[in-house]
Amino acid sequence: MRSAPILAVDALSRRFGAVRAVDGASFEVEPGSITSLIGPNGAGKSTLFNVVSGLLSPDSGRVVFEGQRIDGRPPHRIARLGLVRTFQNARALTRLSVLDNLALAAPQQPGERLSTLLVAPGAARRHESETRARARELLELVRLDSHADALAATLSGGQRKLLDFARALMARPRLLLMDEPLAGVNPTLRLQLLDHIDAVRAEGGVTVVLVEHDLDAVMRVSDRVVVMSGGRVIAAGAPAEVRADAAVVDAYLGTDG
């Protein structure tokens, strides 16, 4: 397992005014692994995700994805490299249909260019029907196919999480960043979603990084756990090692006294 990391975060920092949300965080992600990022609220996990995915730019530090520096690049360029994220609150595009939410995510669609629509409308149409077919397959996978033509606004919170996950898969990621995929999802759906995540890694070769508060789930699915506190990485290792780490126990339990 000592292949080159698919993602390397090196001394990354991002401030908001006087608050150092991410303060020199470093860690690496092995290709084909499931890595979880845990830590108390305010540890900087979501900010770190936002910086890695390009929605925020870092103040300092580096992010290297598959050997290329991506820190400070715009989010759409990072996504096109195969680094795709989901959102903590799922962020369904509510006034688009469920199917369109997914179809949107397909990469390199000729029909998204006006020039192609004018010059080669046939090619655009063929590609679009392939896109829609694949979107339906993914909707079947997460059991939302019966909602395909409904507006995404009609989905429940848990269903929106599944939609967000399927939408990210539609983008054909090589690295998938998932921000609290289990938050607000009922226990049955949780198990389903965890199975999906495991399957995507096993069958699709997709590397997964999770931010998650459900420690039982984290310990069960992760190959590696990275613990953040106060914007820094305070521990990293296999789930069992991390669980035994005194600093982790301190970060979670110590502050309350």
């Binding site: 759409h76 995510a105 029909g111 655009a124 679009e128």
Partner: protein, 321 residues
């Protein structure tokens, strides 16, 4: 009144509604599709009209070529405005567009040498020299009148304006089913999501603004042809809000709602001229002119209360969460 029964009058209302349709299509694309709050739309109409008139009169280009360049100039102005401002947050962008609309109008008012100044295009060729930019248009109108055997050149104008308006509406409706508009709508819904899925949000916004501005530029050319002279005062902010009213009356995101909304606005606006019975007759005609805007306001409030999605809109799309 006999005016209400006069065909001529309603032909005029129809021409104006057709021009407003073109103007409204721009807002439908920019806001209904891409979510851009453009409150300076009228400026692009002015740029289209002035470019066409100035190139015809001053550069001696053919009116048709000038009109094409007028539409291109409006699109280019959209790009020039968009490049520095489309990265702003939605509300800041809205403020900038209001300012842009006013700047264009003030420039047109004060650059006498270029635009004819506050007196308008009658002054284009300089003091004491009458100028006209629409000779070719009037010949075309007359030719069409005879070719189609219609009663007047005004009817010919009506047909041309609506042919353009409906063709453009059909084009927008066709584009609404493409992956291209799907990206625009995703930006309207949540641009962070669109960007995180690999869409170049800025480039799409710029395209929407350029094309919406081109539609306004075309509206400007028709406006200029309908009235032989025009002046900066014709491009007041009210016209921008007419375009917005049309889109709200008809329904957001629905291309075919634009001609419907434009006809509604045209009929309400023109129809209120005939309120010459009590209690309206207690006001003089100038005061009554203001009543139109009140009536339009009341209609919009009623619509927002009882049919907030517009005449052709989908109610379920109002669920925003």
């Amino acid at each position: 009144m006999n005016a209400i029964a006069s065909g001529e009058f309603w032909v005029f209302v129809g021409v104006i509604a057709g021009i407003y349709t073109l103007l409204g299509l721009g807002i439908q694309l920019e806001f209904g599709f891409a979510g851009l709050l453009n409150f300076g739309h009228v400026a692009f109409m002015a740029i289209g009209a002035y470019t066409m008139a100035i190139l015809t009169v001053k550069a001696g280009l053919s009116m048709w070529l000038s009109a094409g360049l007028g539409v291109l100039a409006a699109a280019a102005a959209g790009i020039v405005l968009g490049l520095p401002t489309l990265r702003l947050r939605a509300d800041y962008f809205a403020i900038v567009t209001i300012a842009f609309g006013e700047i264009v109008r003030y420039v047109a008012t004060n650059e006498d040498g270029l635009t004819g100044g506050s007196q308008g295009t009658i002054n284009l060729a300089g003091p004491g020299q009458a100028s006209e930019y629409n000779g070719s248009w009037e010949r075309f109108q007359t030719w069409l009148q005879h070719a189609l055997h219609v009663g007047s050149s005004d009817v010919a104008m009506l047909l041309v304006v609506w042919a353009a308006a409906l063709a453009l509406t059909a084009l927008l409706a066709a584009s609404a089913r493409t992956p291209w508009s799907r990206v625009l709508k995703s930006i309207r819904e949540d641009e962070d999501v669109a960007a995180s899925l690999g869409k170049n949000v800025f480039a799409y916004k710029l395209q929407a603004l350029a094309l919406g501005s081109a539609a306004a530029g075309l509206a400007g050319c028709f406006f200029a042809w309908q009235f032989s002279f025009f002046s900066p005062g014709d491009f007041a902010p009210l016209l921008t809000f007419f375009a917005w009213m049309i889109v709200i009356l008809g329904g957001l995101g629905r291309p075919w709602s634009v001609p419907v909304g434009a006809l509604m606005l045209g009929v309400i606006y023109a129809g209120t001229r005939f309120f010459d019975f009590p209690p309206f007759s207690y006001f003089d005609s100038a005061e009554r002119a203001y009543l139109r805007l009140i009536v339009i306001g009341v209609v919009i409030i009623g619509l927002v209360l009882f049919r907030p999605q517009g005449v052709l809109g989908r109610r379920e799309e109002l669920v925003l969460e």
